[in-house]
């Protein structure tokens, strides 16, 4: 028998530090697989966020630069401009990217910086214990919206792909749901497109991945998947919002 699926060597030989069922491990695995498939471990740099995603520092075996909360796109801008031979991606959660780092992601995207952003949207702040995120759904209970997010006082979930797709510079913007194996495969193909844009030096690419937080949602991983199908995928539909453009 031949091994047809194996753990990539670009992941450290240790358990993740993520909670059971957390899809950060899954997303990190997808990136590690792509880095291995393209043979670019020696020139890939992950710019990590503040939040749960920072724990991928010890998961990836390739270069990592840890940024301040929300500032990964600015750090990646400085790094990639100074190291044009490197393949740079930022890895950011929804609070990091959509709240405190909104300015940094919008302007890096608008400059068409040469890096890609992997955006993990699980509608909550995981690391700090489940507070309302910019992507928390209307009515979703969190520790800071104990009665559910009320749009009259807390506004509506922010749709980052739709917001960024208004910009002219990004080469690729897409959202995928990690709910099903097919969704995971589509997500990987989306990440592949974004990575190939980097390999061709064509500028900024953004992939949003709809994820779960069993710990802070207070649901089993299986019930999280049901909630995704019934709730989050309705608000955050899959799709490619901006096709790769010719870069002059």
């Amino acid at each position: 028998m031949e091994k047809v699926y194996q753990r990539p060597k670009t992941l450290a030989a240790a358990p993740t530090r993520y909670c059971p069922g957390c899809m950060h491990g899954l997303v990190s695995k997808l990136m590690a697989e792509l880095v291995e498939e393209y043979g670019i471990a020696g020139r890939t740099v992950a710019v990590l966020p503040v939040g749960c995603g920072a724990m991928s520092k010890n998961l990836f075996t390739f270069d990592v630069v840890c940024a301040a909360h929300g500032r990964a796109p600015a750090v990646a801008t400085g790094f990639s401009r100074c190291a044009p031979d490197k393949i740079v991606f930022t890895y950011q959660g929804d609070g990091d990217l959509g709240a405190i780092g909104l300015s940094e992601i919008v302007h890096a995207a608008n400059r068409g910086e040469r890096f890609m952003t992997v955006f993990i949207n699980n509608s909550t702040y995981g690391m700090t214990g489940g507070q309302m995120a910019p992507t928390t759904l209307v009515g979703q209970k969190t520790t800071t919206t104990p009665l559910g997010r009320d749009p009259l006082t807390e506004g509506y979930p922010m749709k980052m792909c739709e917001i960024l797709s208004q910009l002219e510079a990004p080469a690729y913007i897409a959202r995928f749901s990690l709910r099903t194996p097919a969704g995971v495969r589509r997500a990987k193909e989306g990440l592949r497109k974004a990575l190939e844009i980097q390999l061709r030096g064509e500028g900024f690419a953004f992939v949003e991945l709809l994820s779960i937080c069993p710990t802070n949602w207070g649901l089993s991983p299986e019930n999280c998947l049901k909630w995704m199908a019934e709730q989050s995928e309705k608000v955050f539909p899959e799709g490619e919002y901006s096709r790769a453009k010719e870069v002059k």
Binding site: D63, V64, C66, A67, G78, F79, R81, C82, R111
Partner: protein
């Protein structure tokens, strides 16, 4: 050495390029705009990179990224903008990344006035961000010194893998003087080592300011504390002017120290034996210069600063240690000193004696 007539801000920018700076990110704010403007046209000439950041916060974090890539990098701003950069400066210190930050200071607090002032002394020397880190802080008094200490700031930033601050008041930034510019330094990438990465046995590039108990935040902090003590022994710079027979010692830095020198000439013509201690490094502070004074002769200390309330007095007090009375003569909010201001204050003190 090339001798040219340059504006302070532009001289700082050119000095940075000659010191090997190949990345600059900044955000517009008066009175330092000539620095990013100069860098925008100059850096491409030397295969460097200029980015106008969307904010001061983004700019300093771009510098963090550039430094992580091993490139000598700088950002500049003025007082309110430095407050915004404080987060990033703390991260630079925590991640052991070299970078030069220039503060062309103005009046505060809040938006304050856009004119020259020296209102950021405590921020610059005590806490340019959270977490108890320190930075070498150079306060030039002439455009030539702005050039010299910008170059030195790059050397020290690299040597110590630390952010270094050049604290130039708005006068230094705006005035034009003849300066000698140094030769171009080698801009090839810096070779950096990181405590956290070595502790974790990393063979890859791993830049972080997050030290878990495993990676021993306490050990890191002890190393840095030892480094700051080394700075206090080895990196103090000051100018001592006519102290040999001085009975009245003026403490002033930056452009105010130049005015003080003129005042000292006038005072000495009147028979008032005045001298000057000028901190060149605001941190580490030249406490020893004040400690060494012969207090059987020195009767008065006069702090002159473009800051109300006086800030430098907090360090002067430590150095003087109750051995002489300390008075102040102050302006702020864009009101510049004349030599007469200082002469009048000194005369009044002398009459009291």
């Amino acid at each position: 050495m090339e001798r040219v007539f340059m504006k302070g801000n532009e001289a700082i920018a050119e000095a940075a390029v000659r010191a090997g700076c190949r990345f600059f990110a900044g955000y517009p704010i008066t009175p330092q705009n000539e620095i990013p403007e100069y860098m925008a046209r100059r850096l491409p000439e030397v295969s460097g990179h200029f980015v106008q950041g969307e904010s001061e916060i983004a700019s300093v974090n771009m510098v963090y990224g550039a430094a992580a890539a091993g490139v000598r990098a700088m950002t500049s701003s003025s007082s309110p903008g430095i407050s915004l950069k404080s987060e990033g400066i703390s991260y630079l210190a925590g991640a052991e990344l070299p970078a030069v930050i220039v503060n062309v200071t103005r009046g505060g607090p809040g938006l304050g006035s856009i004119q020259a002032a020296q209102m950021d002394y405590l921020q610059a020397t005590k806490a340019s961000g959270h977490g108890g880190f320190r930075m070498l802080v150079y306060a030039p008094s002439t455009v030539q010194e702005a050039v010299d200490y910008t170059c030195k700031a790059f050397q020290k930033a690299e040597q110590y893998q630390s952010p270094v601050l050049v604290c130039a008041d708005g006068c230094i930034g705006a005035m034009m003087e003849a300066v000698e510019l140094p030769e171009m330094a080698d801009p090839s990438p810096m070779k950096l080592r990181f405590f956290a990465a070595e502790k974790a046995g990393e063979t890859r590039l791993a830049v972080t300011s997050l030290l878990t108990p495993d990676e021993t935040q306490e050990e890191f902090n002890r190393l840095k504390a030892a480094l700051y003590e080394k700075w206090e022994r080895e990196e103090v710079l000051q100018e001592e002017y006519l102290l040999e027979d001085a009975e009245l010692v003026i403490a002033a830095y930056g452009v105010t120290a130049r005015v003080a020198k003129t005042a000292i000439t006038v005072l000495r013509e009147e028979g008032i034996k005045a001298g000057l201690i000028r901190p060149v490094t605001l941190y580490p502070f030249p406490y020893a210069s004040f400690d060494r004074l012969d207090y059987t002769r020195v009767k008065q200390i006069l702090c002159a600063e473009m800051s109300i309330p006086c800030q430098v007095i907090e360090d002067v007090r430590v150095g003087v240690a109750n051995r002489a009375p300390i008075s102040t003569v102050l302006h702020s909010g864009g009101v510049l000193f004349t030599a007469d201001d200082i002469v009048d204050a000194a005369r009044a003190l002398y009459r009291k004696e």
